[in-house]
Subunit: 444 residues, 2 copies
């Protein structure tokens, strides 16, 4: 029994048509929107025209992008045609909801062509322009592209920068920005220097306004987010789920050690600590010398009728539920309780705050942490409920342009395992699988 | 143990400085923002300069507003000074968070003066301009003002319209709109013809972005929202709270009659029906021939450890909780469950959807319905948990410029009362207090 959100019912399909010169952060925006919508169970996919172009021209130099180069132009037109054709098939064959056409789409002629095609297929066009004249921002983006784009893989850094600047100059010759007068009949968002100024034009559907709000909240200042489960609780020790137990002695040992671990990772800066409303997260955070905030939305997944039971008891008392949960853990809702999908919906405002804020440490619960982690690490929903997030471990996330860096800092305080493998109801006695983890840097 | 939201912790105070010619819907916007923030427990208040001016000049004609009329100018400057002084006292004495200065604030000189004052007092200025050149919109606003403003009470309608147009013309002489270039250092939102175009400039804090998102979602198309509790449930009959009971025979009778009652009220149009995930709302909606949407956020207030008990049992088993709840029903949280404040926080996205959508019928639960009703009817939080929302009654809300019209349509199917008065644990056997209600039109 899925919980629908309005986007699933309005039968609205949207195409986000990116607009902007190279090195304006379009691909990053496109990827973030896909990640956010996917996390909300809205089927979204990015179609990057550069990827299609590379099938024919893998590492062309700047002259290829000159509008007066007929061969380059032919390849580029072919690439956009292929990308658009694939996107249209995806809307049909895979019931896509939000496609993103990631390209410069720099002229009104090109945009009019896309607009016509979308309208003919009853897909709502949402133009999203990233306009930027802040040379520092542009240069940062160029350095990013230089190090990450396949167009410059194996090339000398100096060549990459100068060639890319020449490519941008070729686009500038024909570029037409979205204009409040000329383009007033289009549905569009124009971001000026990230979000210093934003122009919003004719946003009408719910789905469009969600995308707009998300994009509005993004910022690009470097920052980190710290996550931790509560320390081991008395219920963890007895193998019960849910409840509002206090910390075990080992849990208190983690609470005592946490300030030092946090200080080592954060440095001298200030943090704000977010906890749930349950004792075990507040006790875990109790020694941290920072401002604290309780969020009901950070409470553990509600196990409903199974609250307070062990997995073994659930398997005995609710055998059908036990199996149904293993079969589809993301969608399964405990009788009178919640599913992972329910948790994601209530976490959405938390994610928005995390995108807007800096220097947050969240102390929360296994299922909630899995959902937050899945958002930042782009982990598919069918996998996220099965992730192993050990006790007594501080996780540092650093969102970057093309992924999120992860560091896991183990407190070296023993704890029971709360990880239940599919099909079993036993928990490991020790988190052996993860407790050998020292500091891992993972790139999502 | 209150659940804080970020706005309570950031210690940010914001002043929304309205900007715009008369008849641009500024006061309506200001009132809606106050209502929305108050509902979210963010202390907000509107300071309307016109109200202060009327203390000296109650019904001046258009010439009073001519910038070359020194006497009029003196009175108007005095009024704005008083309004601003009162607002500043309110920030200090009453710990105000969002003040709204509702005036035309039409010149850069005036805005610079306010800006300086706010900065000196460490209050973040957020300018909110309503700019409009759609003559139909303006004329609608003029007709609204003509019928609702004390400035024209008792005056001939024709005089009111022509005098008001002359007043607007006087403001137009000096009006300076917010400009993306000239005013680029200000934090502002500029609404162009309601929300056809929106310019957002330098929005930085969380609280500002919440106000912006809310304002973005407002529309002014006339519409209605229908609300109903589920039909009487088996738990209602036995006096138990919470749970996931089925409808009683009388509840099923309501479910059977509901399609006709709805059809009579809605007419030939289409609706979308929103229910909670619980059996009793879905059974109540089961005969409605419309698209249906389940929202976890519409589930009843979670009674935690008291789920399934009667009020008498709660009074016996949890005497302290029973008393605590009666003492502060809005803040009281059931052990392991929710408070009304928790429900409001999870309902916030629902309110946003309701502001954006049209033709919605919500079938939900007593506490949830109280919270939704409180938002639209601007009912203070200490009162909202005590409102009597009877079973077997369809409520039609019509948000208008200066309030919400309410119609209560009784199904004339008997039901137990689920209304518990403060200090008692008994429920009336019949909803006598409300079942004598026929069709009431109330203006909030």
């Amino acid at each position: 029994m899925p919980v629908y959100t309005v986007s699933h019912v309005q039968n609205v399909r949207v195409c986000v048509v990116m607009v902007g010169l190279p090195a304006r952060g379009k691909s990053l925006l496109a990827q973030k929107i896909v990640r956010y919508l996917s996390w909300l169970s809205i089927k979204a996919k990015c179609f990057n025209v550069g990827t299609y172009r590379r099938q024919t021209a893998s590492q062309p130099d700047a002259s290829f992008f000159d509008v007066e180069n007929p061969e380059g132009l032919a390849v580029r037109v072919e690439a956009v045609n292929k990308a658009v054709a694939d996107m249209m098939s995806w809307y049909g064959d895979e019931a896509g909801v939000v496609g993103i056409l990631d390209a410069t789409n720099s002229t009104r002629v090109r945009r009019a062509w896309i607009l016509k095609l979308l309208r003919e297929n009853r897909i709502e066009p949402l133009f999203l322009e990233s306009w930027c004249d802040d040379s520092e921002l542009i240069m940062n983006n160029i350095l990013d592209v230089k190090t990450t784009s396949p167009d410059y893989a194996g090339k000398a850094p100096d060549f990459a920068v100068s060639d890319f600047l020449a490519r941008i100059a070729n686009y500038e010759k024909v570029y037409e920005t979205l204009d409040m007068e000329t383009d007033k009949d289009l549905t569009f968002i124009k971001l000026i220097n990230v979000n210093a100024q934003i122009i919003i034009n004719k946003i009408e559907t719910y789905l469009e306004s969600r995308i707009v709000y998300y994009v509005m909240n993004l910022h690009i200042k470097p920052r980190a987010i710290w996550l931790s489960r509560h320390g081991e609780s008395m219920y963890n020790v007895s193998g019960q789920i849910g409840g509002n137990a206090d910390l075990s002695p080992q849990g208190w040992a983690y609470a005592k050690k946490l300030p030092q671990i946090v200080a080592d990772s954060v440095g001298p800066g200030e943090l704000t600590v977010w906890t749930s409303t349950l004792n075990r997260t507040q006790q875990t955070a109790s020694n941290l010398p920072f401002k604290k905030l309780q969020w009901k939305a950070l409470d553990e997944l509600d196990a409903g009728a199974c609250d307070g039971l062990t997995y073994q008891q659930i398997a005995e008392d609710f055998p059908e539920d036990f199996k149904a949960r293993d079969d589809d853990k993301y969608e399964y809702r405990y009788p009178g309780g919640e599913s992972y999908r329910d948790v994601v919906i209530r976490l959405e405002p938390i994610i928005m705050e995390l995108e807007k804020n800096e220097n947050i440490l969240i102390v929360t619960h296994q299922a909630v942490l899995r959902c937050i982690y899945a958002y930042f690490m782009n982990i598919p929903q069918e996998q996220s409920p099965w992730m192993d997030i050990p006790l007594h471990t501080l996780i540092k996330l650093e969102p970057r342009a093309f992924g999120t860096m992860v560091e896991k800092i183990k407190a070296n305080i023993p704890a029971v395992s709360t990880y239940k493998e599919k099909g079993t109801f036993e928990l490991g006695v020790d988190d052996a699988k993860v407790n050998d983890v020292k500091n891992i840097i993972t790139r999502a």
